[in-house]
């Protein structure tokens, strides 16, 4: 009940934030712009719409996850609104979980709106929609969950600006982890250990990228999908637990 109240309040806060609407409008404009770009290409315009559409949903969703996520806790501490929450019979992990769930709900609804925009464009151009598109949208949401948890983790101990930089760095590196591993395998000794360690510790965000499958209409087996979901949820749970441990020890001066 307490977690739910905090989640609903966070969701309400997000809804009253102009940043969210600006990003959402930009995302919809980008998805719509594929209609213009397709006139500049010869054939394969189905792929272009899907590529731009999924890319926009991913990019703007990540922007929302980072820029709203970093403020989830640090803004509460800076504005001292946290004083009236922690002084109630609310455990600190309940506060964190509520904030996380609130932003996750916002992202879920945003993704649904952006996906509706993409489906409308596809429908207008008579592009057939395959099940793999929805699977790709599902994994995009899982990626948002991880990025939000990363932003939340950093915002429990650093300022909003630093949290944004760290989260953005994790997002970029997270998409390059297969390269890290490949690079590490070409090295010896400590360099190899460090790069392989990074490969296993950092989130492998490329696992959630099914855009190639969608544009080439390749289906993803349910087993693979379940593995991706389990990985995403386990990684998110780990990040949230780590955030809780750090947050539990903090003094709110």
């Amino acid at each position: 009940m307490k977690v739910l109240s905090i989640a609903v309040n966070t969701f309400r806060e997000n809804l009253r934030d102009k940043l969210l609407y600006n990003l959402l409008i930009f995302a919809l404009l980008m998805i719509g712009s594929s209609l213009i770009f397709m006139r500049l290409t010869l054939g394969e315009f189905h792929r272009l719409i899907l590529d731009i559409g999924l890319g926009s949903i991913n990019f703007f969703g990540v922007l929302i996850a980072i820029f709203v996520g970093i403020g989830l806790v640090s803004k509460e501490i800076e504005k001292k609104t946290i004083y009236t929450i922690v002084s109630k019979p609310v455990a600190r992990f309940q506060f964190l979980l509520g904030k996380y769930m609130g932003l996750s709900l916002t992202l879920l609804i945003n993704t649904a709106i952006m996906a509706a925009g993409l489906l409308a464009v596809l429908h207008c151009q008579d592009v057939p929609v395959h099940a793999v598109l929805f699977k790709a949208l599902g994994t995009i949401v899982l990626e948002f969950m991880i990025i939000t948890a990363v932003a939340l983790l950093f915002s429990t101990f650093s300022s909003a600006t630093l949290s944004a930089i760290f989260t953005l760095a994790i997002y970029v590196i997270g998409h390059l982890t297969p390269d890290l591993k490949a690079f590490g395998q070409k090295m010896e000794g400590l360099g190899r250990t460090v790069l392989e360690g990074m490969y296993y510790i950092l989130p492998n965000l490329e696992r959630f990228n099914l855009k190639g499958h969608v544009t080439h209409q390749l289906d993803v087996p349910v087993g693979d999908l379940l593995m991706i979901a389990a990985y995403g949820m386990a990684y998110t749970a780990f990040l949230l637990m780590l955030a809780s441990v750090i947050f539990q020890r903090r003094d709110f001066r």
Binding site: M1, K2, L4, S5, I6, N9, R12, E13, R16, K79, K80, T81, Y83, T84, I85, V86, S87, K88, P89, V90, A91, R249, D251, F252, R253
Partner: protein, 321 residues
Amino acid sequence: MASADEPVVNIQQLQKVFRVGFWGRRVTAVDGLSLDVQRGEVFGFLGPNGAGKTTTIKMLMGLIYPSGGTATLLGRPVADPSAKAKVGFLPESPYFYDYLTSQEFLRFYGHLFGLLGSALDKRIDELLDLVGMTHARDLQLRKFSKGMLQRVGIAQALINNPDLVILDEPMSGLDPIGRKEVRDLILRLKETGKTVMFSSHILHDAELLCDRVAMIMKGRLVACGQVSELINHGTTQEVEMVVDRLSPKGIEEVRPLATKMVLHGERVMAVLASQRQVDEALDVLRAHKAKLVSLIPHKASLEDLFIREAKGVQQATEVHA
């Protein structure tokens, strides 16, 4: 739950050391503080800015962790979130979710205490009425004045019908009308059997409201007790006497009795330090057929005590240095 004679707030040897700056220099904000707040009393927690009042209150509310010592609220350790189930808290210069209306704001805090449905609706109506904010129930908090925010802040502190209400500087930044309203509200809470602990550096308010006060300076307790006890302890009750038409001989007879004497035309003002000196001075007046204009005792105030203690702490610091 605390029994009737158990202190509502119990603080034992509480200590908080902060590490500040790049090198982590140790700064002691609260230093071995011990005090009790009894059920049903209005307790003033006084001290100058930076004395450690807010740090102590934050430790009570679980916002910061003590470096040493223990504290309980209603018989439960402060680290236990359930200790706050029957406690209301208003932080200093409160900041709230300004995108909420006062009604949404109180509903949110009600939910955090597990309050729901019509019981919560009723409680919100009662509280908005109590703090005089019914007219602003659908107004977002971002449009509120400081006084309005303070009132709605007090309402959130009371949403769970608490047994203990802790207010951190509730009068600070308010105009005289706002301060009076908060004072009246505190007295109303006392009438309904609640225990109120509030911090303040405005001594006049504390003097008017408190059954007992504790005074801290530089993180240490320097005085604790009933206001009347504290302000009379170690002070002499001076009396100011104003007289007309006292002859020069009479003036010379009064002069050795007075600690201070001012002549202005045929009017004489004398400050007398004890009842014996007052009696002797009155005998002189009668003998010289002078006219007594006024005889006013100088009432010692918490401010006198405050300044006296501050000087004591300053001197002790200098000697120590």
